[in-house]
């Protein structure tokens, strides 16, 4: 269990007050707490909750640039701007994240192959640095600090505000289609012919082996054009589906998710999608945030919880590393309930930003304990060997040595960080684990 002193500033001045009370135990900003790992935790230190610093400060409807404080959430942006014809440039699979968290993890979404990550749509960041100075950095002014802060896992300071460029849309609808994918080769074929779609993602059945390995449902879409929807879909006349329709009231029993139930679910999900759907209009909410509809969905995993493993490996040849990963999982007998696969684009960013050109695979596992951790160690080995990496925003267990092989840029990143924070004011459990904070280790 992690215990921290917690401050929840509501005024900007209160951030500085909290900062003034630092005592050498470390400080860390914490947004909506959706990181699956230890990125937003700081045992024994001072955690600053940024959720109530959520003012939108300026918006230019001509260009889409929004200036907002770090505690503004993707949900806040959707609620304010979808009726006015704008959308977040990038969104992860949940809208319950702050823009500060999106910046620290440099989040990606279904449009990575076209639009890159969150930071590709940010032009500046206002940061409270370890000296107590507020620094506004961008690609010209203090570019090294800017580069270290995007994807910097919150370890360069407390983000106060940023400028983010929203994407113009005509309506809240996504023109989408789904394609039944028979196996991994088929996935790559479909992915290759999906260039006309700005958003792609594929659900994948991790239980299938051999010829059917990688079967799944490929979903692709784009924001619908003005003339694609009738008047019912016009802006401002939205069906409000933003609030959770269902909630998981209690922790599920540990036996609920086992290999058999996962197999059953996967079979049903696969069969539910007939040969595929063409040109369906779907509201953005179920398209981008299928799990947000079920509040506290994670409780189905019971008290033991779950772990997610998200990896990216370069695409090459017959994608042997990817097959090796899937093979290791099926052999282990620990089925992944939710597995998602997507091809990233060629856009890579600074900091410790996760995406590199290649294929990403995100796997949810019920917490099977030691055997699962062993499996993940084996997956780490495959990923490192292939020149890939795991996503820090979802990690709680990768070792320092493995991390350094996955992120060779860590040393250059840390040099910049140390220059701005020589005494290690900003820390996190993740930073401590991976040797990213404090002196050399």
């Amino acid at each position: 269990m992690t215990r921290s002193q917690v401050a929840r500033p509501e005024r900007r001045a209160e951030v500085f007050e909290a900062f003034g009370e630092r005592d050498g135990s470390g400080m860390l900003a914490h947004g909506l707490g959706r990181s699956y790992g230890d990125a937003a935790l700081l045992d024994g230190g001072k955690v600053v909750l940024t959720r109530r610093l959520d003012r939108m400060l300026d918006f230019d409807p001509e260009t889409g640039w929004l200036r907002c404080e770090a505690g503004v959430s993707i949900e806040d942006i959707l609620e304010t701007f979808v009726p006015r014809g704008f959308f977040p440039p990038v969104t992860p699979g949940t809208k319950f994240v702050t823009v500060g968290g999106a910046l620290g993890c440099d989040v990606h979404g279904k449009n990575h192959h076209v639009d890159g990550c969150w930071s590709n749509h940010i032009r500046n960041v206002e940061l409270l640095t370890a000296s107590g100075e507020v620094v506004t950095c961008d690609r010209e002014q203090e570019p090294e600090l800017f580069d270290a802060t995007v994807g910097g896992m919150g370890l360069t300071g407390i983000t106060l505000a940023m400028d983010v460029k929203l994407t113009p849309i005509h309506n809240p609808w996504i023109a989408m289609e789904s394609v039944r994918v028979e196996n991994l080769d088929h996935f790559f074929e479909v992915s290759a012919e999906s260039g006309g779609f700005t958003h792609t993602v594929s659900w994948i059945d991790c239980v299938k082996r051999g010829q059917a390995m990688g079967r799944g449902i490929f979903m692709r879409g784009r924001h619908a054009d003005a003339d694609e929807v009738g008047h019912a879909g016009a802006l401002g006349k939205l069906i409000d589906v933003a609030h959770p329709l269902l909630a998981v009231p209690l922790d599920g029993p540990n036996w609920l998710l086992n290999n058999a139930s996962i197999r059953l679910f996967n079979e049903a999900y696969f069969r539910k999608h007939p040969k595929g759907q063409k040109n369906v209009l779907q509201h953005y909410d179920p398209f981008f945030y299928p799990l947000d509809v079920v509040r506290d969905w994670n409780k189905i995993y019971g008290k033991r919880g779950f772990l997610q493993y998200q990896l990216v490996v370069p695409k090459e040849g017959d994608n042997a590393p990817l097959r090796a990963v899937l093979d290791a999982i099926t052999k282990s007998g620990m089925g992944s309930f939710l597995a998602v696969i997507k091809e990233f684009g060629d856009i890579s960013n600074g900091g410790l930003s996760f995406p590199i050109p290649g294929v990403t695979l995100a796997l949810d596992f019920a917490n099977y304990g030691a055997p699962l951790l062993d499996l993940m160690e084996r997956l780490d080995a495959i990923v490192v060997e292939a020149g890939g990496r795991v996503y820090l925003g979802k990690d709680a267990r990768v070792s320092r040595a493995t991390f350094r092989r996955m992120y060779p840029e860590w040393e250059a990143w840390k040099a910049v960080r140390d220059q701005w924070d020589p005494s290690g004011v900003f820390q996190s459990d993740l930073g401590r684990r991976l040797g990213l904070v404090g002196g050399a280790a």
Binding site: R8, E10, R11, R12, A13, R52, R55, M56, L57, D58, F59, L66, E69, T80
Partner: protein, 244 residues
């Protein structure tokens, strides 16, 4: 249409400002921390597109209140609604050795609030229209050892609003008293309680809806009316021995 929010840096006040702005009111937002008031005004402008103006407001600078109200009305037009959302529990030591601190609590929560009400009520009464909302606390319903200075000031404010309501009713002006129980704000942050705590946004929704229905006294969350009903009926002989 215009509304003025005094003490706008509280989470509830900010949410209240947004509710009225969503109805199309121009908003004046006042707080001691003007830079902060400006941030909130900017947020209101971005989210609703209304004219939102920030300014300095200090509850205890009473001599300045009439001129301030004139300035506000010059900026956003004659006020249809005013919300007094400020309050200060102070930091009184247990033995109340420092009356200056206690006096400040009384001045902010009662004298300053009454001073501002007088300044606003004059114009509203002349125009024969308007809504004046005073945000108080259930702490004003009975004196308790733990916070009676704050409680007495809020209690006095409630009594003042009662009289003002009686006077202004005949002039077409509505006065609403809000008595808040536990809301998840700076004031209750860190408080350990088993009593359900409302969100500031829920409180703002309730205030907004009640103002439209011309409610006289709003308890929020509503079950606090019952709780305070019980607390008020405990005989003083017994109450003085309790430590609530």
């Amino acid at each position: 249409m215009s509304v003025a929010i005094f003490g706008a840096t509280s989470r509830i006040a900010r949410a209240v400002a947004l509710r009225w702005a969503e109805d199309g009111h121009a908003v004046w937002i006042g707080a001691r921390d003007v830079a902060e008031a400006e941030r909130i005004a900017a947020d209101v402008r971005v989210k609703t597109g209304v004219n939102a103006v920030a300014g300095a407001f200090d509850a205890v600078d009473m001599d300045a209140h009439p001129a301030l109200v004139a300035d506000i009305e010059a900026a956003v037009g004659p006020l249809d609604c005013a919300v007094l959302a400020f309050g200060d529990m102070g930091e009184l030591d247990e033995d109340h050795t420092d009356f200056a601190a206690a006096r400040r609590v009384i001045d902010v929560n009662f004298t300053g609030a009454a001073s501002l009400c007088e300044a606003i009520a004059t114009g509203m009464a002349e125009r024969g229209a308007g809504t004046l909302i005073g945000v108080g606390s259930v702490a004003g319903d009975r004196g308790r050892q733990s916070n009676y200075v704050y409680g007495s000031a809020k209690g006095a404010f409630a009594l003042y609003l009662q009289g003002l309501r009686n006077r202004l009713f005949k002039r077409g002006v509505h006065v609403m008293t809000v008595k808040l129980g536990f809301v998840d704000t700076r004031m209750t942050w860190g408080l350990k309680t088993r009593i359900p705590v409302a969100t500031p946004e829920q409180a703002a929704d309730a205030i907004h809806a009640a103002a439209k229905r011309k409610v006289d006294t709003l308890y929020y969350p509503p079950f606090w009316r019952a709780i305070m009903g019980v607390i008020k009926t405990i005989p003083e002989r017994a109450f003085k021995r309790l430590s609530l």
